[in-house]
Assembly symmetry: D2
Homo-oligomer: 342 residues x 4
């Protein structure tokens, strides 16, 4: 059985496991005060070219989004997201559970539009009747988006400028950030993100780690007050944070994070090219590790006997959009087998 | 430098790391549907002699307490705890953040008294004025407690009977459960706990795992409805839950969990005996891996140059209570060195 | 200056004030145990033809929605609402503040469609991937809607049947319920509502009272457990609940509630007829006390010097939709003056 | 039947009802923008000698506490209260429902001690381990307390200085504030409170109004940002806020608030004196409108056939503490009748 249903099918990159073994019996202080967290923090800030920033290591994506958003918002504020945003759709109400509304705007292949954002924000300044509504206190975007698409540098700058004009932070969910950074043709780099976002996270779980997400605040003064306590309150403080520190220290040593990300993109390109040659259509032109392919329902039924993949949405009576995901661990040989079956 | 400040100084038992490596490249479904979670669940239910139960794997202690308590309570209910309970003191308000009051009762070396519990509960049934107060919707205990003490089987039965009489669940925080089960003279076993508690968790983080706590509901029908969604809402759902399944599967294979727990207790006994022989007094007579020793302040200052330990509380003007913790990873040689310094 | 901007411009119907004066020095028990609350409850259940039901008196609309919704939902559930629903737009995040997501569906002149509701609900039963989403735990509708429109009896029945099939309650926000019941051509009566809704509230604030909303559960067994405590927790428990009991007792004596409601509808009809004769267009054909009229912007600027009204939305570059509201207190003479100005 | 069980037995002072009638048909803007709210605000700030302050009118006590506390705290903070504080005991978890822990200190006849408060606060500054606990973000006191006792000016100053030193606000619950201000021998006045508290509320419900509490922020810059929205989010925003404005405007015209308060104190003094003469003992020496009297159980049973009062607590096997409350509406003739029965 071939498996392409997601990018978290395997454990971790072997370098990470080796490092866990090497350091295993060192006695280290808990809760993030160990030298591996410190080293990982330094390497990440270096890669982002924001030495004055701060980094926190959390365990998973939903937890990270809920913790950062709760830290950045006042109780009367909500977070603006594309209607397709992960925080709006697939986090079981984690944002609302900490008391905040997700305020939605239309999506454009998963992305927010700066003009529409400004249209929303400007109604909230100056008019009393808006005091009966939830204030937009920050903006959430994901990069890559849920559709595998990417913002351009200019689009990010546009969102940044609107947020800055209205004095609210821009936060990027980077669950699959590596696959976005490694995509062909993108002009968005870690330093670009650090310039335009007030907070973002570099996803580990889907990019070679067992678990873990690194939250970056490019400017230390933008870290929410007593954020450590907020992390603990959200149940997101690992006693053995070394587990996260060692993983990110490894991923940010000798460019491993980008190396594994580029591998996933190469695999996605092989798949994409192969499918195109066989005449398959794509629901969206994704430059990242998620490929959304249109299948005839009959073909789908046949294929699923030998391959696992995700059902994305119904296209029409006879066709369905399915998702194939590659990752740091995908073998080219498996892609070839998949193409042979198509 | 000798280190005795807590029981989460090292990584994980080597058998766990080896198992992670062996299984690393297997492609497994996410979110708990993998065979290692299934196998670990079966072994745990077997050890607890409650084959009809259910098990969920979460990441850390505060997260587990917040998720289980939120799952078990209605919005108008609170959780009863000893005033010294971890949920009341050291979880940064995680319980209140999900809307629930921690209702406190006095502690007796960290333990709740069944009679006092009944005194509280009986006021809430039948009298309308209590509708202005938070209903006690469940009871939280820890075993071992924050003071390293243990309930007896009869004490547990007493709490169980009161809870049953008032129709509310009894929940046990077992962050250090192994060290409680392995203590000399205890008559509390996993099957006893499964008989008297409606929910409890078997701690992994402090007992040989990198991270992870196994929540057990001895009766499947007592699992909160849609608990999977509640776990996700609390940010407690690991995408690669295999990380938890493999660890617990290893810990519950060939009695490893009890073996490493007994080691910690042996180390604590060596320490205790040695200190007694040297004339040191104990704040509390703890049968588990945490030892609370009374030190002269002068001795304390001297010792901390070569040993790390926890300051527990001030005893009097000249004395302080300190805590030394042993664990699955403590070396007898280090205990000997510590004793030599005392 | 003529005032038509809302239906809460004046105090209360004089019969209510008189009753407050007559009963003022009676010593009555607090928190709802007084005979006026009891009498009002009985009269309301009688009017709704559901003698086995239960009634609670709360103070205002947002408070009532937040309290009832929090009472009816489990922590992992959200409330389904039209995207234009008051709970989604104009309650400052009160629903989310108690931890619940507002799950939106498209609106049809403010109304939910039973077919679209079923489409949403059916995806949540049987498929595990939906466990990552917020469960729809109840349905919220308003009658009249925010657009002044009304459900037909058949439409209500349709929603009722879908809710019943999926086992979730249907809740109606009746902030302006009187004006809906008194509208011409409606086949929806209090007994119809009591038959099809699991909970609803009869608005007082906008229909002749100083404040107050009466929450009706047609079947006592559907009242959320310990709902009194939930009311208190939401800060919605008035010490002198007599203030609410006396008002509703008066409104439901000798048909006063319907009498004042019919007056508002008569006034709205005079206005509507007059505007039609003058050639004005309507944004929506509203049969209730809110009339949405299209004005040229020039006319709007001129008119607002002498009349207060609400700006609803921009129609096009030159036209704006404005709202005129009548109420129990509107004088026909003022309608005539308004028409003369148009 | 004589009734002394609480201070909210009757409706409102007749001057308030008259004013409601006089203003009833005036068309006024909603949500607090009416001239009566403005006038009441001005009179209150004048009485408090803090013309630069701000006033908000809310409906009831629990609602006011929950709204103000939620407005003043960040999500990681809790409120410090005496263990007997109303927010800790009798508000059904309203504070926790908005996510905040009530951090308790011992009480001294219902009062907090400034030294004990400082002892708590100083542990939170400078030591990292406290980041695992809930930060004390503000202090809650009540005046009079739940025991009818009063702070002295010096005691208030002491609390104020501690709060100021640690940079957190001091908030006073004044549900019965009038009865505290009118007590014999107190040196605490409204200007004193405005000097030492960052926020407080002047209770209306128990001091002559139908409902309503006036929240005062002596310094406008200490009002929580967008507090109007927070009020709405808590369901505490009355559409017809005139109902609150008119009541407070009347209470603060020609000293009515103090006049009715002094009456209640006079009645309490007559009762106290009479009971002392008859040899009754008091549980606490209360200078305010609540008197806590020790009754033999036999006497209690006899008395309750003709008088309603509150059972406070068991004194010993044969005696019970009961509470008699006077109010603005108490008749001296009823006090005489009560004394005759004792």
């Amino acid at each position: 059985m071939l498996a392409f249903e997601c990018d978290y099918l395997e454990g971790a990159h072997e370098k990470i496991l080796n490092r866990l073994i090497e350091t295993n019996m060192e006695k280290l202080p808990g809760y993030g005060a160990d030298p591996y967290c410190a080293s990982a923090r330094e390497k990440i800030l270096d890669a982002c070219q924001c030495p004055e920033g701060e980094v926190f290591f959390l365990v998973g994506g939903t937890q990270t989004n809920a913790t950062v958003i709760d830290g950045l918002l006042s109780s009367y504020e909500g977070v603006v997201s594309a209607e397709t945003g992960h925080v709006n759709c697939h986090e079981s109400g984690a944002i609302e559970a900490s008391g905040h509304k997700v305020i939605t705007l239309p999506h454009h292949e998963g992305k927010l539009d700066a003009g529409e954002l400004e249209g929303l924000l400007k109604t909230f300044w100056g008019d009393e009747t808006y005091e009966h509504m939830v204030f937009p206190g920050m903006v959430y975007i994901s990069h890559p988006t849920e559709y595998g698409t990417l913002y351009t540098k200019d689009e990010l700058k546009g969102l940044h400028q609107v947020c800055k004009a209205y004095g609210i932070p821009l936060y990027m969910d980077g669950a699959r950030l590596g696959y976005g950074l490694a995509a062909h043709g993108t002009d968005v780099t870690l330093p670009v993100i650090a310039e335009y976002c007030d907070a973002f996270y570099i996803g580990g779980t889907k990019v070679g780690a067992l678990c873990g997400e690194a939250v970056v605040f490019p400017k230390k003064e933008r870290v929410p007050k007593h954020f450590f306590t907020t992390i603990k309150q959200h149940g997101a403080l690992l006693a053995k944070r070394r587990l996260l520190g060692i993983q990110f220290d490894t991923l940010f040593t000798d460019g491993l994070y980008m190396e594994v990300s580029r591998h996933a993109i190469r695999m996605a390109e092989v798949l994409k090219q192969g499918l195109k040659e066989k005449g398959y259509g794509f629901h969206i032109d994704s430059p990242t590790n998620q490929q959304f392919v249109v299948l005839e329902n009959k073909k789908l039924e046949e294929l699923r006997k030998e391959v696992s993949f995700s059902i994305w949405e119904k296209k029409d009576a006879d066709h369905t959009v399915v998702r194939f995901a590659t990752s740091w661990a995908t073998k080219e040989e498996d892609i070839r087998k998949l193409l042979a079956l198509m």
